[in-house]
């Protein structure tokens, strides 16, 4: 019997972990779904959604432009030196545009928004939880899910595709800067190849990704903050752990989801 236990134990442990992970994701999805449905409950919280769009979207514009610019530039640089060996530098435009629209745009946008807004969301909601502000909302007959989570969900769903689009455009010009201005690829070739190679399906795929990433980021970050009090650690320690795990889990899941989505979209 003993040898069977030895074989069974790690497998049982693995199974337990897997079940726990699936349950955790299920809880987050239900949490997201509740918050999402409450977006449509009248009266519409227009003002709060607008504030969140400003916070998640508008305030991320600068950092998105910066990362997009350098990402495009490095793509232009790498692409140029790869293509120049085959004498096909004229294809640089399509290489930069496709990698941006299909992969770099949605993924890097999501990761930048996690760093800027996702961590802030988790910390803000976590602090509201430990300082009893969420309980205070309940005592006033205000649904904290509707008041705190729904506007963030709505804003994230609006902002992610727009920021991704911005990333794509700025990245394209970054590639132009390094590829054409610095390394001398004909700009007309660069832009015409970029235009002709990107199809509607690519753009649509990028948007689908960015929407899925929005769900993942806002779901995990809000969930981690909202349930800070259920951790073993209390107070500031609990909030810091919630923020850390919000960032780590959503970054990992973004990359996992990206692979899965790409498989389906190809």
């Amino acid at each position: 019997m003993a040898e069977i236990v030895i074989f069974k134990q790690p497998i049982a442990g693995l199974g337990r972990e897997a079940i726990a992970a699936v349950r955790y994701l299920g809880r987050i999805f239900l949490f997201f779904l509740r918050g999402f449905l409450l977006v449509f409950q009248p009266p519409f919280q227009f003002d709060k959604i607008r504030q969140q769009i400003y916070f998640i979207g508008m305030k991320s514009v600068f950092v998105i432009c910066l990362t997009a610019g350098f990402t495009g530039m490095v793509l232009g640089l790498q692409g140029y030196y790869a293509l120049v060996k085959y004498g096909s530098t004229s294809a640089l435009g399509s290489a930069v545009a496709l990698s941006l629209v299909r992969e770099m745009g949605p993924v890097l946008t999501a990761i930048m928004v996690i760093a800027r807004a996702g961590s802030a969301m988790a910390a803000e909601i976590g602090i509201m939880r430990i300082s009893e502000q969420i309980d205070a909302l309940k005592t006033m007959d205000i649904d904290p899910m509707r008041y705190l989570i729904s506007p963030r969900i709505a804003a994230a769903l609006v902002c992610f595709p727009l920021l991704t689009a911005l990333f794509d455009v700025v990245g394209l010009y970054g590639g132009y800067l390094s590829g054409s201005v610095l390394l001398g690829v004909n700009p007309a070739f660069y832009f015409s190849r970029a235009q002709s190679s990107v199809e509607m399906a690519d753009i649509l795929g990028g948007f689908i990704k960015s929407l899925v990433f929005a769900v993942i980021v806002v779901g995990i970050c809000c969930f981690q903050g909202y349930y800070t009090h259920t951790r073993a650690e209390f107070g500031a320690k609990g909030v810091s752990l919630s923020t850390t795990s919000a960032v780590v889990i959503s970054c990992v899941l973004i990359l996992v989801a990206d692979y899965v989505l790409t498989t389906f979209l190809m």
């Binding site: 009266p43 803000e124 602090i127 509201m128 300082s131 009893e132 502000q133 309980d135 205070a136 309940k138 005592t139 006033m140 007959d141 205000i142 008041y147």
Partner: protein, 404 residues
Amino acid sequence: MEAAPLIELRNVRKTLGRTRVLDGVDLKIYRGEITAVIGKSGSGKSVLLKHIIGLFEPDAGEILIEGRSRAARSAPEKRALKRKFSYVFQDTALFDFLTVFENVALPLSERRNERPAEIARRVREKLRQLDLDDVEEKYPSQLSGGMKKRVALARALVTDPEIVLFDEPTTGLDPIRKNAVHSMILEYQQRYGFTGVVVSHEIPDIFFIAQRVAMIDEGRIRFEGTPEEIQRAADPEVRAFIEGLESPRDDLTGVDSHPIGQKRLLQEMIRLQRHEIPFSIVLLAVESRGGTERIGGHEAGQEVFKLFANHVTQNTYITDTCFRFDINKIMVLLPDTNRQQAMLFCRKISRSLEGHPLLDGPGGQAAFRFAVSAGIAQAAPGADLDDLVAAALEGVFVLYESHA
């Protein structure tokens, strides 16, 4: 036949983590009364309060509100019930992303029953009463601890609730502000008739405003009764707790505290019975006329009360005892004194107040507007202490009124 309780807890049990916090709590809270819940730190007072408002569900037992439990109500009924409650959190729980004005307005604006102009009017009125009118655009983090408490109080009272739960409303406040908050709670309660539950450490001050007191110990209600009853309780655990927290001096006025005074009264009563030495009591009540619709008025009122108490002590002999009797009353115990002599004592106090630098002011320009009424009684042999106090309360007359 006593009236049906507004809120009744029956055998409520709750375990949080591995600690059993509530272990069969039975408690009745009556309409229109202030019930104080006292007990050691960590004895489950706040948890009890959170059960009443529904933030926690009991593991076992039930909580009846107006005779019915929460679980037995439909969703709209639950909402309607929730709107009758307000909760003042221990650490204020103000929304740090909203200004003071928005914080106080939130419970009204989210209900959407009223137009914004009407909401703004009600919020401004509450802010004015609590002397917060000049900070309405500030954020909670820019305010002092005492101000935050007041904002929390304003937010709780702005909805005109029927039941207000206070979780240690005076912790961390100085004696003047603490007594001002107590007298404000009392005044609001008398004016609007809400039912109050106050979790408090302030012993014996809380007894001045509560009609009922419940002491919680090890997850159960150890004692339930009136403030007089708990102060006379025989239970050694209750006695140890109350006496442990009582200081011999009242921290606002500096005169003797209520229990010390009660002991002195008892001693005098025995002297009267054994040796037929007469004694009298003078009950002095201070009414502030400084606009008590504002907390500033209440704070000024406490200041007057303090100054007046100091003034009285200065005019007594060493054998006399001066102690705090109620939220705005002090009692002077005059041994070896009959009614006529007590009357002379009152005259002396009244005369000496004229021209008092702070209380009366030079040329009749008093810093505060207030009145003092007095009641005198001489103890009769064999009479009850309660009768003596009642007799003093019966014959109350205006002793002094500051110049307007």
